[in-house]
Every structure is written in C-alpha cells, then in structure tokens.
Amino acid sequence: MTQTAPTGTDGAAVRLTGLRKSFGDVQAVAGVDLHIAAGEVVALLGPNGAGKSTTVDMLLGLSTPDAGEVRIFGRAPRKAIGDGLVGAMLQDAALLDDATVAESVALVAALHRKPMPVADALAAAGVADLAARRCSKLSGGQKQRVRFAMALVADPDLLVLDEPTVAMDVETRRDFWQTMHKTRRTVLFATHYLDEAEQFADRVVLMREGRVIADGSVADIRAHVTGRRLTAVVDAPDAARLAALPGVTDVDVRGNTITLGCADSDLAVRALLADPTARDIEITAMSLEDAFLALTTEGATR
C-alpha cells in the first residue's frame, strides 16, 4: 500500500490545542492538548463521562469547540475529511436498515475521491460474505465490522475509532485488531478495554473529567502509579504503623492480610520483615488496570 502521508507544517497527524467544550454547566472537555505523530496507534482511555466522545466529535468537526483548535495533518477537520484523509467509526453513527452492506460501503466510496476498491474494504473488514445482506439483518458485531469497512474504504491516513470493538465477541475483537495492525495508518481509538489499549496501542492517553491525566506508553502509564504491590500476612496488623514504613504509599488491611502500594518495594519489604509474624510475602507489578483505577479515581472522592 502506498500511502502518501500528508503532513502538516509540524509533521503531526493530529494536534489538539487547548480544546474545551461545555454543555450547559457541565464541562465535558476542560482543556485537552494532544499531539499524535503520523503512524502512531494511540488509545484514548477513560471512564464514562471522561470526555472521550466529545473530544472525538470535536476532532472530527462534528461539534465546534468552545475554545481551542483542532488540526488534522495541519488542516481544519472539515477540510481534512473533504480531502479524504480521515476515516472514522463512531459509536452512535447508524447504518441504513434498508440498504445492503455492499451498497453502504460503495456509497461511502463513491463520496470519496480516491477510495480503495469496495471489495478490498469488505474483505479487510471481514464482511465480504455479508455483502448482499441488508444492514437490518446484521448482528451487533457484524454491524461494527461494516462500519469499519466504511471507515476503511476512504483509504484514509488517519483512522478514528470510538469504542470500535464494543458488541464484538473475543474472537472477532482479535481479528479486528489484526486487520487494524495490517493497515499501517495513524490510529486513534477510544476504548473501555484496558487489555485492548495494552495490547494494541503504542501509546495510551488517559482522560478523566475532561482532561488528559496521563499520556505515554503502556509502561509509562504503569510507572505513573508508583511501581509495585506488596501483599503479606501479618498478625495483628496496625495500619498506621504500616503506612509509616519506608517506601509505602498506601495501605489496605483485611483481617490479617495487608496490601501495600509501594513506591519502593525493596525498602518496604526490608522494613516489613522487622515484624517476625510477616509471612506469605508477594510482590507484583501494578497492572495497567491498577494504574487506570488509581489515576481515574484519584481525587475523585475528595
């Protein structure tokens, strides 16, 4: 595939600057800055209401930011879409019930100036065998794949996918991501699934309450929540004393079992062993899920 990756003046595929959007009193997006280089696969992760979909909408020019600027390959969103640089799959964008799969994809192709052959898009999205079927007769996962074919048929340089694998079963999800990786484009996808971000993204952007709260590789994000988790069994644990141990950042006590969040687990384990009852010690790396939970709930209960 020959992609003439058009680049903006700064070489960025996507550049969001100071993006803000409010709906009434609710600030959905409260100042987002994001820079995605051409060729990156970026996961936009966050709980419901974090502002992911609103950000995606503004990125695609479907809604106008209250403040800030969107640039896709150096162009305004509408211009980038007009130039056929963007393919997108939205959560709430429907298919036509009374049109067939092939008709729907062919229509999107016809509206673009340099689409890929419809058959190629159908095959790539794994829906070639459904071509003649009415869209009303598709399962949820099949619909998602048809929408993916519609995003792909434009032969875009940037793919924007909002919750692309929702309604897909495990196997379909795996196939989907395999297809995705073969396309070699810049991809921004919003997702709830941590494992998806972990396995398929070069980079994870974490959003909460309309802001980007972490941005980096999966390893970076993990490190963001200090290192390791230590569990042990201690007779008559004293939470206050445990919290005071060096290297410990948080303490959870359930009966005799303690769980310590550790910035420096080496220091913590040495100090803990001063207690002769300490046993069954396990030290594990924080999972992305731990990092995600820590980051997205941090301060939310203040």
């Binding site: 106008t64 429907a94 036509l96 049109a99």
Partner: protein, 246 residues
C-alpha cells in the same frame, strides 16, 4: 451532488412498499372513487366545467403534495439513528445531502401525478387542451417543490417517532385547507382567509389553471416560490444546528 447517492436513495424508496402505496396508489384510488360518487358520466359543475377534470387536478395535487412532504420528512429517521453523522464523515457537503433529499422527494411526486393523469385521460374521459395537460402534469409537479422543502423542514425539526402522526395530520390539514377535498369556493369568509395562507391552497390554484384561465396563477407561483425559499433557508439552518450534539 453525487449520482450514486441519489441512486441509492431511490432504491431505498422503492423498497418501502407501504410508502409507495400511500404516495402513488392512494390518490389514484381516491380519484376513481370520488369521480364515481360525484362526477360520473361527464357531469359538470354549474359553470359547465368538468367535475372529473377538477377532481383529477385536485387528487394529482394531493398525491404530489403528500409524496413530496413525506419523503422530505424521512430525514427525521436519519437524524434520529445517526446516519447523518455517518455522512458527515464523508466529503459530501451538507448542501448536497439536502439537495439529494429534495430531488428524491420530487421524483417520488411523479408517479402519483402520472397515474392520476393517465386514469383521468383514459378511464374518466377528461379532455384538456395541450397547455392544460402540461399544466396538470409538469405544472403540478413543479408546484410540489415547496412541499418537498416543507417536508425537509419538518423532518429536521421533529423526532422520528412522531413522524407518522405529524405527516398524516399535515397532509390532511393541508389537503382540506387547500381545497383539495372540498372546493374553496363553498368555504365561509373566515375559513377562506385561513385557506389563503396555506401553500396547498395556492398549489390547488396552480392546478386549476390547467382547466380554465386562472387569474390567480401568478399569485400562486409567487406564494409557492416564497414558501420554497423560506422553508429551504430554515431547513439549511436547522440542518447545521441539528448536527451539533445536544
């Protein structure tokens, strides 16, 4: 404007059987029924004009109006289910989308006029001058433009689930007030004032120009043009605002 999009839209309309029956078959059936009841055997009004011819024009107008109105209003469904958002992700301009919908609405208005006219000329023995036939077909068809625009405006303004009731009601009210069902001449003064504010009244006037030298023809054209422009502009405005997520 994209030809393939227009083609797909036409195919989709053809697949909707119920829709075709309402816009095409119903006016024709009503025409035959009404003539059977009031206008058989070449009966005439007091002024000597043919009852069948008047009913042909009225039912042709009613069919064209309902077809254009309800086709335009189908955009409500596409707004509700997110298809419009999908189309916004393509290079097609919002104007092309609206124009395509208007053209489809106008195409759907053709069969009802054609069927009623053919029935009029063959079964019901309506005879008109060449100019009369042009006015009763092409004139009526062009006169349906404001209703396509009004349909679009309604479709962009109401939620999809209230579409059938709103459409049924507007066709009926516009048909009655437009004098398509009952001649406007027998209406009392207060009612006739209301009727003259509706586009359907002037649409009927346009149709009647096929039967006799109607001095209201120019007014009718002007009023229908004004409705087209206003409904068109309001639709364009609605379309831009409805794209923003609430």
């Amino acid at each position: 404007m994209n030809a393939q999009y227009l083609l797909l839209e036409c195919r989709r309309i053809m697949r909707s059987g119920r829709f075709l029956i309402f816009s095409m078959v119903m006016p024709a059936v009503l025409f035959v029924l009404l003539v059977g009841m009031y206008g058989g055997n070449g009966s005439t009004y007091e002024d000597g004009s043919s009852v069948a011819a008047a009913m042909m024009v009225s039912m042709g107008a009613f069919g064209a109006m309902s077809a254009a109105l309800s086709t335009g209003a189908r955009v409500a469904v596409e707004r509700g289910n997110g298809w419009q958002r999908q189309l916004r992700l393509t290079p097609m301009s919002p104007a092309s989308y609206l124009y395509t919908k208007l053209i489809v609405a106008m195409l759907v208005a053709v069969p009802s006029i054609a069927l009623v006219s053919v029935l009029g000329a063959t079964v019901e023995g309506v005879s008109l001058s060449a100019g009369g036939w042009v006015m009763a077909t092409a004139g009526l068809w062009l006169g349906a433009i404001p209703f396509a625009a009004l349909g679009l405006l309604i479709g962009l303004s109401i939620p999809a689930d209230s579409l059938p009731s709103v459409m049924g009601l507007s066709s009926m009210v516009l048909g009655m007030l437009g004098g398509m069902w009952i001649p406007a001449q027998i209406a009392p003064d207060w009612l006739s004032a209301i009727m003259k504010a509706t586009p359907s009244y002037w649409f009927t006037q346009l149709g009647q120009s096929a039967l006799y030298d109607n001095k209201n023809l120019l007014t009718a054209i002007a009023v229908l043009a004004a409705y087209t422009i206003v409904a068109g502009l309001l639709s364009a405005r609605r379309f831009v605002t409805s794209a923003q997520r609430a």
